[in-house]
């Protein structure tokens, strides 16, 4: 792949040169066309180098030990936290390192759950206690990671799960639900991982505030692809994963407003999250350490810090502009193929870069197989958003998703591949 055309003004040749995997071939020598960054993004050499350098020169268990390596490792780990905080407009102590976004959301759900047991906790934690009659509100377009933990929390606390429906163009239908005085949590995706619709965060936050509910934002598909300032958005919690933003897997981030993290009971307990331990019981460290039990991931956190450096050097506004251009090309070219239906907004208003679609008469798996045969890697299936697919009466979609290294020429191959699939299956 030597294409460099980028109307957004990015030097794509240089960017692509940073990602070693993009130069490989697949399926009998075809150049890899990687259109599955929504599932996981590829990592630039700068991230891989940062991990290696850390491991070769500073590796030690962080936040314990007084030797030089322990100091250096802790400094690197905390420097990464500070870089990420700057990217998302938060204070470093408002960010908790987790395994991934799924764990981040579970951390919040279990904090609520633990607070609901109401024994041996500080009075502060009472604001997180749930019981019968309380309501948790999600949306029908959520990724399972921002749905199942809330279903489980409702099961444990006997709270009720309610949800906003979806409009025909794949957005949250704001008219489909009224919050109530019993609504305690409103959890939703900043950008749908299927339809790429960007949620009206300000309006949802306003509604939640009106009834005193807390807002949990699934920022997995927003932080990697657009400028996000969590403080300005006014959400209470947000979660995102490192591996979707050019960083390593095994590291994610939970954001929580200081005041809330201060009051929240822990989820995973054990070493390094404590203040004092006696046989009769223990007290806990202030956040974020309270939520980082055990020896945490370190080279991964450092790698994520390097990914943030990489993205910041390009500029998140340019990343977003580039991906919008790619979405425009995908919508235009796929729109010209008869029998293709886009699942999601058909224009670029409040829309990110992923494009999901169905092909009449050809199952998504079969479309994906034909694309794969041409070297084009897309996601097929329900993309962990089964209720959304059910809402549209379909079992599966094909999803093409992009990142800063994706080219217009790559995206244009989608439509050719879909035509080939239609021809192959005789529709």
């Amino acid at each position: 792949m030597t294409a460099v055309q980028a109307p957004s003004g990015l030097d794509l040749a240089a960017i692509r040169g940073d990602f070693p995997i993009l130069s490989r071939t697949v399926r009998e020598g075809r150049p890899l066309v990687y259109l599955d960054s929504g599932a996981t993004s590829q990592r630039p050499r700068q991230v891989l180098d940062a991990e290696r350098t850390f491991l070769e020169t500073h590796n030690a268990a962080v936040h314990r030990g007084a030797h030089q390596l322990a100091e250096e490792a802790t400094d690197d780990y905390e420097a990464a936290r500070a870089k990420i905080a700057l990217l998302v407009g938060a204070e470093p102590e408002e960010l908790v390192f987790t395994k991934n976004a799924t764990e981040g959301i579970n951390l919040v759900a279990y904090a609520f759950s633990n607070a609901s047991i109401r024994t041996g906790l500080s009075a502060d934690s009472e604001r997180f206690a749930l019981g019968p009659g309380d309501e948790i509100v999600v949306t029908e377009l959520e990724h399972h990671a921002n749905l199942v933990p809330w279903q489980e929390l409702c099961r444990r606390t006997e709270a009720t799960l309610r949800w906003y429906g979806i409009t025909d163009d794949g957005r949250i239908d704001l008219d489909s639900l009224e919050l109530s005085e019993r609504t305690r949590v409103v959890a939703f995706a900043h950008q749908s991982n299927v339809t790429a619709a960007i949620a009206p965060v300000a309006e949802l936050v306003r509604r939640a505030r009106e009834v005193g509910a807390l807002v949990v934002l699934d920022a997995c598909q927003s932080v990697p692809h657009m400028p996000v300032n969590l403080t300005e958005l006014g959400v209470d919690f947000a979660a995102f994963s490192g591996h979707k933003m050019l960083g390593p897997s095994g590291v994610g981030v939970l954001y929580g407003r200081t005041e809330l993290l201060d009051a929240m009971p822990p989820f995973i307990t054990g070493g390094s999250m404590i203040e004092m331990v006696r046989m009769e019981g223990s007290t806990y460290a202030p956040p974020p350490q309270r939520f980082e039990a055990g020896v945490p991931m370190t080279s991964q956190a450092v790698g994520l810090g390097a990914a943030v450096d990489y993205l910041s050097a390009i500029g998140m506004d340019r990343v977003f502009a580039h991906e919008q251009e790619l979405a425009r090309v995908a919508l235009d070219t796929l729109g010209q193929v008869e029998g293709v239906r886009i699942v999601g907004p058909s224009d670029l208003t409040d829309r990110g870069g992923a494009v999901a679609f169905v092909v009449d008469g050809v199952h998504a798996h079969d479309v994906g197989q034909v694309l794969d045969d041409r070297g084009v890697a897309v996601r097929v299936g329900h993309h962990c958003a089964w209720p959304l697919h059910r809402r549209f009466g379909i079992a599966a979609t094909v999803r093409a998703s992009f990142h800063v290294y994706t080219t217009v020429e790559e995206v244009a191959q989608l439509a050719d591949g879909v035509r080939a699939a239609q021809k192959f299956f005789g529709v």
Partner: protein
């Protein structure tokens, strides 16, 4: 092109004109199997006559591989004894899960050997086995009810 290896003409024929499709009465057991990674589903009914498979009927929502493989299943097992049907199932399953190492025995699995190419694609093996596992489950249920 590797596509033709995977999507043999037999598979495409079964996909376009599936055999035995639709849910029929009477039946002894009905199962509903799903592929959680892609959301494909099959509802399958089995009617036994003593120790032989009298009818297999199904409704499915899925890709060409899962549809065609369920269609082939009905061709292969209807009219056979349960023991023989399970021998065919095991042979088909062994091939499907072999990552391309077991070509399949045409004398046992007939048109089923067309799915040998699918076994090279780990993500699609579940598609090929969806209807077969639903069939196995249904027969086991009938047998369990008989003994209880």
């Amino acid at each position: 092109m590797q596509l033709e290896q995977m999507y043999q003409e037999i598979i495409l024929d079964h996909y376009r004109q599936p055999h035995g499709a639709g849910l029929r009465d009477p039946y002894d057991a009905e199962t509903h199997h799903i592929n959680p990674t892609c959301g494909d589903e099959v509802t399958l009914r089995v009617k036994l006559d003593g120790d032989s498979v009298q009818d297999v009927s199904y409704e499915s929502l899925g890709c060409s591989i899962s549809q065609a493989s369920t269609s082939v299943l009905t061709d292969l097992v209807v009219g056979k004894s349960v023991e023989e049907a399970f021998r065919i199932l095991e042979s088909f399953q062994e091939m499907a899960q072999s990552r391309g190492k077991v070509p399949g025995d045409e004398d046992v699995i007939g048109d089923g050997i067309a799915f040998a190419g699918v076994s090279k694609y780990p993500a699609r093996v579940k598609c090929a086995l969806l209807g077969w596992m639903a069939f196995k489950d249904a027969v086991v249920r009938v047998k369990e009810e008989e003994t209880s």
